[in-house]
């Protein structure tokens, strides 16, 4: 049973894509939960299944091509796993919404951005056009778009990347949903604009007390934002931890590697700590622990058996036979 203050609870989510060559197991039984007002990050490299996870939570994965199975998918006390598409349409946008990675492809290029935000209000609150316009302009102003009345009439191509991302954020927060998924919201942006957009996102989340699931490949983005972090590798959660201890004392060798791979301004050395090898192909995952070919602590045990996700106290879980202890870091 999920606890009462869980906004989202996902139990044992599995997504596979069968094709002629075999089966791609994109997500292999992951559990997630997000509390009310909490910002949770799902971190992993490309191909690890993080976007598939987010789309499955929204029930936006087409079946076929995918086969999805989930034991529990509860949003704000409502079980969503058996809802029809029509019922989901009412939930999407009003209770749960999503900020996509690439704002240019997420927005309709032949419609003004204002009209696109209007749609949310008209659809979910049955507002009149003029009323919706007023709300849309307010929504644009809230995310810090300068002169929102003029921008309301702009088409997506007339806006810069940062502004487009703000429009998406405005749209996602339009109905004040209780849960928002942000899928790599800043990857396509410049560093200075990235900082701006993240600030807007954090501000909006705090003001509305929204639960946020932030999906990213970049641990440095979540260091200052997330309360809790899930690290994903090859379709499995390998580590779950509150943010601060994860950065101070990573338990899984993969997390340690990811942290080491990020260059720091405070670094003095002239070499980068690297994880050897590459992410395995999703159709040819290795036996045993998926990370063992790249892991420098791997033993025989790791080669034949997948370690379970073990609770190690303080809200931390790790999927490793040999979790790192504090002094062990190189």
């Amino acid at each position: 049973m999920s606890e009462n203050n869980d906004m989202l609870s996902v139990k044992n989510l599995k997504v596979v894509f069968p094709n002629q060559m075999g089966v791609v197991r994109a997500v292999e039984g992951i559990d997630l939960h997000v509390k009310e007002g909490e910002c949770v990050a799902l971190v992993g490299e490309s191909g690890c299944g993080k976007s598939v996870t987010s789309l499955s939570i929204m029930k936006l994965i087409g079946t076929p091509p995918a086969l999805t199975r989930v034991d529990e998918l509860v949003l704000d006390g409502v079980e969503m796993k058996d809802l029809t598409d029509r019922e989901m349409q009412h939930i999407r946008g009003s209770k749960i919404s999503m900020i996509f990675q690439d704002a240019m492809t997420a927005l309709n290029p032949v419609m003004t951005v204002g009209k696109q935000i209007d749609e949310v209000f008209i659809k979910h609150f049955h507002m009149k056009k003029e009323e919706a316009k007023k709300h849309s302009i307010e929504a644009l102003a809230r995310v810090g778009v300068p002169s929102p009345e003029q921008r309301y009439h702009d088409f997506p191509h007339q806006l810069s990347g940062g502004m487009r991302q703000r429009v998406l954020i405005a749209m996602a927060f339009a109905c004040e949903p209780k849960f928002i998924i942000a899928d790599e919201p800043t990857t396509a942006l410049d560093v200075t604009i990235q900082a701006q957009v993240l600030e807007v996102l954090a501000q909006m989340q705090k003001n509305n007390n929204t639960s946020l699931l932030l999906i990213t490949h970049d641990l440095s983005i979540v260091a200052n934002m997330a309360d809790r972090i899930y690290v994903m590798y090859c379709g499995k959660i390998v580590e779950e931890s509150p943010a601060y201890p994860l950065f101070k004392d990573p338990k899984h060798p993969y997390t340690e590697g990811l942290l080491g791979a990020i260059p720091k301004l405070s670094d003095k050395n002239h070499e980068f700590i690297q994880i050897p090898d590459n992410v395995p192909h999703p159709m040819h995952k290795p036996e045993g622990c998926y990370f063992h070919p790249r892991c420098r602590y791997a033993t025989e045990e790791c080669k034949c058996q997948m370690p379970p996700l073990v609770d190690i106290g303080d809200g931390r879980k790790v999927r490793c036979f040999h979790p790192l202890s504090k002094g062990e870091k190189s």
Partner: protein, 330 residues
């Protein structure tokens, strides 16, 4: 050593008062408009060093690199490579000089021909140059594959069989097959997975040590630049803002734009959270920029003079230049 910039040392590449303007078509007025992609840039790259070129997208980094490689004719100014005026040379001489400069591209997914196998891709520069037998080419390609961390068995595979990191290694092998003296790395890791970043950067550092190449390293990530580069040039809207040795720039940051870029770098250092000043606004259009400092509209310390007079590049301490009115009196 590149730490000491002495006057006797000969620069490998020298750029003098370089302007690269692109005419803009259309518009109602009869006045011709120009995108000032690079304006009044001068810099030197010494043998064996790595010069970092930093700035937001659209600031002219790639245009500058292309001009240095002889791919875009400059509007004004000169580019010297090994003491020869690149754009004064024609035909054979130009080609011979170009052979010693190569480039690594940002996106390894679009920079390799999908229909070629690895032998053809990496061996192509040798074939174009001519005078080598097929056996010689194959021998050299195998040698290079080992150098960049791939194996001989990969010789007849196609780019689609490789992951992003491996493709970037192929791109690097192709770039260094003719033993160039000068290599332009245009954001070599930004399209790759985080865990592979360190591998590629370490490979570049290793190759530089082994072959003794000179790098022009383009990046927007200051943390990477700090580790890789000997000297750094910070660009904004086609102009040089700050220029000097890496340690001087990072320890004694002078220009407000460089400071803002440093603030925008997200860190995984959770212990000493720095106070961040998020830069307001976005990079303005480079079409006919107004007089004065190009950064003045976003600068928190801008005064009246900034919008009227273009600041000149001044040497504040030996080997550390800045273009900012704040340092006028000193």
């Amino acid at each position: 050593m590149s730490q000491e910039i002495s006057t006797e040392k000969k620069p490998l590449v020298e750029i003098q008062d370089l302007d690269v303007f692109f005419p803009v078509k259309g518009g109602l007025s009869f006045k011709k408009h120009y995108v000032q992609a690079v304006s009044d840039m001068s810099l030197q790259i010494f043998e064996g060093e790595t010069l970092g070129l930093v700035g937001e997208s659209g600031c002219g980094k790639t245009t500058l690199a292309n001009t240095v490689l002889g791919m875009i004719e400059p509007t004004k100014g000169k580019v010297f490579f090994k003491g020869n005026d690149l754009y004064a040379l024609k035909g054979k001489e130009f080609k011979a000089l170009r052979r010693d400069m190569q480039m690594i591209f940002q996106d390894p997914f679009s920079s390799l021909n999908p229909r070629f196998d690895i032998l053809e891709i990496i061996g192509e520069p040798m074939r174009i140059r001519g005078g080598f037998t097929d056996e010689e080419i194959e021998k050299r390609v195998v040698e290079l594959l080992k150098m960049v961390g791939l194996s001989e068995s990969d010789l007849h595979r196609h780019p689609s069989d490789f992951s992003g990191g491996q493709r970037q290694r192929i791109g690097i092998a192709r770039a260094i097959i003719l033993n160039p003296d000068f290599l332009v790395c245009d954001e070599p890791v930004s399209a790759l997975d985080v865990s592979v970043h360190a591998q590629i950067l370490n490979l570049l550092l290793k190759l530089q040590k082994e072959i003794g190449m000179t790098y022009l390293f383009i990046s927007h990530n200051l943390a990477v630049v700090k580790t890789v580069c000997d000297r750094v040039a910070v660009m904004y809207l086609g102009k040089m803002m700050e220029y000097g040795q890496t340690d001087k720039i990072f320890e004694n940051t002078l220009h407000p734009y460089t400071k803002a870029l440093l603030d925008a770098v997200l860190d995984v250092d959770v212990d000493n959270k720095k106070e961040r000043h998020v830069l307001k606004g976005e990079i303005p259009s480079p079409i006919d920029p107004p007089p004065g400092c190009r950064f003045c509209k976003r600068c928190s310390r801008a005064t009246d003079i900034c919008s009227q007079v273009t600041p000149k590049l001044k040497e504040i301490e030996p080997g550390h230049y800045v273009a900012c009115h704040l340092y006028d009196e000193k």
